[in-house]
């Protein structure tokens, strides 16, 4: 593929807001996981962003107020992201910048609250419940476009936990088709009862902070977060500062099972191989793989199998879910921004909380921070429904 430039980016997760805070937390090996204290649920640990519910939205219709859009709004602030988007808008025009975002559950917490206040006679939710601007999946790009003053085409991608990774691919399709000159890409997912209780019902929530790749791993810790990046053609805007280049992607399906990955890892292998092929790279040219690495027994075993098949035992890899928890549909953009942070600072953060690496694993899983130059990072995301996405980023 013709590489695209990432000219601005922002990230918010339980470990902090912005690239600098993220870098410090990753280097300090400081996890953001805390015992679950959300909506009366006390199972396991969560990666909660503090004070989301206190954050007010300004300059947009009040109906957009929900935890997911509050997270998205918080992520936008600071770090020069809004200013960078404004500069791109002044150059290209508002109608030439698309907004393509991934989310798995949007503002469903608002619907959960509305259900507890349904009128028992009429069956109506309370009057203040604005379904279209909160729970609906399209709420997020509509909100962000209003927030940033963008008027290009909007898209909501909802491929479960691969949503905001897959959004990069959909953004590229619109960009390369000439429908826009730049795209705000990324996504957000926020804590809600549905995902906390849903993953618990599948027996996938770890009672302790998640420990991806550990022999005794026992599931995920659910997290929340948001992130956005500005994508544009290389060299199209002379004043743009390039943070990183996006050079390859692979997307595939498992065609196997709704909630369990294919143990043969055919889909994951296909996504990684396609990403290398599109980037014109050999496996040895990837310096580090940021694993999907959720901490479930089956995901991590499948992914190790896939990484071995494509990369053998040489390429360093690890999961950052021990810091953030599994931020579901937002994990793709959050970990894309982590890749930018790692390439700029030159380090690969080994998995957190590992006491004994799974002895069955054959790939080179890091469990300590390794300081080394990273020219290229592969970032994986897999989701329910058997959906896979691998992205490759390159340092500038």
């Amino acid at each position: 593929m013709k590489p695209l430039a990432i000219t601005a980016g922002t990230v918010l997760s339980a470990i902090g807001h912005g690239l600098e805070a993220t870098e410090q937390a990753l280097l300090a090996r400081r996890s953001g996981l805390t015992p679950c204290d959300f909506a009366g649920i006390r199972t396991g640990f969560i990666g909660r962003v503090p004070d989301v519910e206190k954050h007010g939205l300004e300059g947009v219709p009040t109906g957009f107020t929900c935890r997911n859009n509050q997270l998205a709004d918080m992520a936008c602030m600071g770090g020069g992201f809004v200013q960078a988007v404004q500069a791109a808008r002044a150059f290209y025009g508002a109608g030439r910048i698309a907004v393509v975002l991934g989310t798995s559950t949007s503002g469903i917490l608002s619907a959960e609250e509305a259900y507890r206040a349904v009128d028992p006679i009429s069956g109506y939710p309370p009057e203040g419940f604005d379904q279209a601007r909160t729970q609906d999946l399209f709420s997020l790009p509509r909100f962000l476009a209003a927030r940033l003053g963008l008027e290009g085409p909007l898209l909501s991608v909802s491929n479960a936990c691969a949503s905001s990774s897959r959004a990069f691919v959909d953004a590229r399709h619109w960009l390369e088709a000439g429908l826009c000159d730049a795209v705000v890409v990324g996504g957000a997912d926020s804590l809600c009862q549905m995902t906390l209780r849903g993953f618990a019902s599948l027996g996938l929530v770890s009672p302790e902070p998640t420990r991806p790749c550990d022999a005794g791993r026992s599931g995920i810790s659910v997290g929340e977060g948001a992130g956005f990046a500005l994508l544009e053609r290389e060299g199209a805007r002379p004043d743009a500062t390039v943070m990183a280049r996006w050079v390859g992607y692979g997307v595939s399906s498992d065609g196997h099972h709704m909630s369990s990955p294919d143990p043969q890892a055919r889909g994951a292998v296909a996504a990684m191989r396609e990403a290398l092929e599109r980037a014109g790279l050999g496996a040895h040219q990837i310096d580090y793989i940021n694993l999907h690495g959720t901490g479930t027994s089956v995901n991590d075993a499948m992914e190790d199998h896939a990484v071995q098949a494509v990369f053998g035992p040489e390429v360093a890899c690890s999961s950052t879910k021990g810091w953030t928890g599994h931020t579901l549909g937002a994990s793709g953009i959050i970990e894309a921004m982590f890749a930018v942070v790692m390439m700029r600072a030159g380090f690969a953060p080994g998995c957190l909380h590992v006491t004994r690496l799974d002895p069955a694993f054959g790939s080179r899983v890091l469990t300590q921070t390794v300081h080394m130059p990273l020219r290229r990072v592969m970032s994986n995301a897999f989701g329910f429904g058997g959906t896979n996405c691998s992205l490759i980023f390159e340092a500038v």
Binding site: R142, P153, S156, A160, G198
Partner: protein, 263 residues
């Protein structure tokens, strides 16, 4: 963006597959709302068929018919699945369960609640590795989905299966997000002129122009307003007419213009 329409399907309330729907769209038969009798999702193994709900079965019915109509292998097609409401029945059931003191969620319902569940069943049914994306764009799901599918077809230089489907939402959400009838449609798009092509669709987006064509007959107009996936009925009517013409569809923001040129 020019793409070639190779195959098409419509199933929904009072619309039983493309050959029937085409007669209704051409005005040869009146549209009468009636419960949809879908063909069985024969591609799914029995246990997956049991787990899948009416929404996935609707999506699979139109996807399968469009591929058959186009004479293409389902497993080779990149998928673009668009739905505003997703599986409203599953979400309603989970939200109702969460509002009880126990708050227990069914694991099968939880994995069926993901917006890409119909796409997941489709890829499982055909044991396929080809990618599928799931989009949710409220009232503009058909238009945004078509814009995405056409762009993917052209940029990837590969055939794309576009599927749009929506059902009414039960329960409290359905009181404020009112959709009526069931409706699904699927288009097989090819990047190059193909022998089996029905027509060329030239799709463009204008963020500044507000325009929206609706079907000529009152019944279909009501359906187009009542179900988000049916918002493209004016385009389907133009395709069924086998005449050249242009159709505007409301997009977010602005509108899509689709020029239809029979092959």
């Amino acid at each position: 963006m020019k793409v070639v329409l190779q195959g098409i399907s419509v199933w929904g309330s009072g619309l039983s597959g493309w050959s029937h729907a085409a007669r209704v769209l051409q005005g040869q038969e009146r549209w009468e709302p009636a419960p949809v009798q879908l063909p069985s999702a024969s591609c799914l193994p029995a246990n997956e068929r049991r787990r899948s709900g009416p929404l996935a079965r609707l999506a699979l019915a139109v996807a399968d018919e469009a591929c058959t109509h186009a004479g293409v292998q389902a497993a080779d097609m990149r998928g673009v699945f668009a739905s505003s409401n997703g599986d409203g029945a599953v979400v309603d059931s989970i939200l109702s369960a969460l509002s009880t003191p126990e708050g227990q969620v069914s694991p099968t319902q939880f994995h069926n609640s993901v917006h890409n569940a119909p796409a997941g069943y489709w890829t499982i049914g055909h044991g396929m590795l080809a990618p599928a994306v799931a989009l949710g764009c409220f009232d503009w799901s058909f238009a945004q989905g078509l814009l995405k599918a056409a762009a993917e077809c052209v940029v990837e230089d590969a055939p794309v299966l576009f599927v749009a489907y929506d059902l009414p939402i039960p329960g409290p959400i359905g009181k404020v997000r009112v959709s009526e009838h069931s409706f699904g449609c699927a288009l097989v798009l090819h990047p190059h002129p193909a022998p089996a092509g029905l027509c060329v669709l030239d799709v463009s987006h204008d963020p500044g122009r507000v325009a929206h064509d609706v079907p000529a007959c009152a019944g279909l107009r009501q359906l187009a307003h009542a179900n988000p996936a049916a918002a493209g009925l004016a385009l389907l009517q133009q395709i069924a007419s086998a005449q050249a013409g242009e159709v505007y569809l409301a997009s977010q923001p602005g509108s899509l213009r689709v020029m239809v040129q029979p092959c």
